[in-house]
Symmetry: C2
């Protein structure tokens, strides 16, 4: 079971402003960025998000995920009926979550959302890390990374930069 | 008067561990990195550091800077005699410092050290920002960036990546 992070951050490492605003990020979502995201999504077969990300995407006009979503939450008791088979609520720890998805036949998970990414990294459960850096300093916001119980070294696979200033680097965990 | 930052950080934005350790960074200082640094230094004619960085470089076996250094400090009263003309103590605010150096005939300053970089960025006094990213997550340490009173947008000039995994991006402040 492979777990991947694919995310955009400001130059100073924030994935959203403190109020959740990501307009500074979405303004960089041009054709190149959409194509790269679609290529990434094609390579995964499940998506793991936390309650915070789930509640954010519920405010979007359309459900944004194209693969089965698993919502990790210890506090939610059910998901809105309208989501149907799009999303499943589970209450498991990071390693248990990957085992559970593997037992269901999934091979690769896209781990999305600040808190969930940090908890998976702290358990050293992330294999691939793709970071798109937006050329802006925000000064404050919701940080991508958090405290870790040990260093995590990565191999740099490649970096692509684009005319709008977005720089995307692909890393793989070096174990 | 142009002010430039040229610095290495971990993937999670730290320039040193909490105890000041930078072995994780210096292990990436290969020929490519030294050449790029030398090229950068050739383009500047003065260096501004704070007390923290000054006290750190005093512990190095050799004085590491090849251009005149100005140590910004409100608490130091004098610098060790052995430094001679290598370093000058000044007690000025960021904007005043640049004016002072400009009046002395300098054209471009290398702004180095976490606290000083943050104070110059918060005053929007940095023109060029070059960041070398090391492929490691440390989880904690001394952060490169701090709070800002406003967003700072940059133009991405170029990014170079190297076989050891270092990725260096060159940015210019977009005003």
């Amino acid at each position: 079971m492979k777990a991947s992070v694919y995310i955009g951050t400001s130059l100073d490492g924030f994935i959203a402003r403190e109020d959740g605003d990501i307009a500074w990020l979405t303004s960089f979502a041009d054709e190149n960025a959409i194509q790269a995201y679609d290529d990434f999504i094609e390579g995964i077969d499940s998506i793991i998000i936390g309650r915070g990300t789930f509640e954010t995407v519920l405010t979007f006009p359309d459900w944004p995920y194209q693969k089965p979503v698993f919502v990790l939450s210890g506090s939610l008791t059910h998901l809105p009926d309208k989501l149907g088979a799009h999303a499943t609520l589970i209450s498991l720890k990071p390693a248990e979550t990957l085992t559970y998805l593997s037992d269901l036949g999934y091979r690769s998970a896209y781990v999305d959302g600040g808190q969930v990414i940090q908890s998976f990294l702290d358990q050293d459960l992330i294999d691939d890390l793709t970071i798109a850096t937006i050329p802006v300093l925000l000064g404050s916001g919701i940080p991508l990374f958090g405290r870790l119980s040990r260093d995590l070294n990565f191999t740099h696979l490649r970096t692509n930069s684009f005319p709008n200033g977005l720089v995307r680097s692909y890393y793989r965990r070096l174990k």
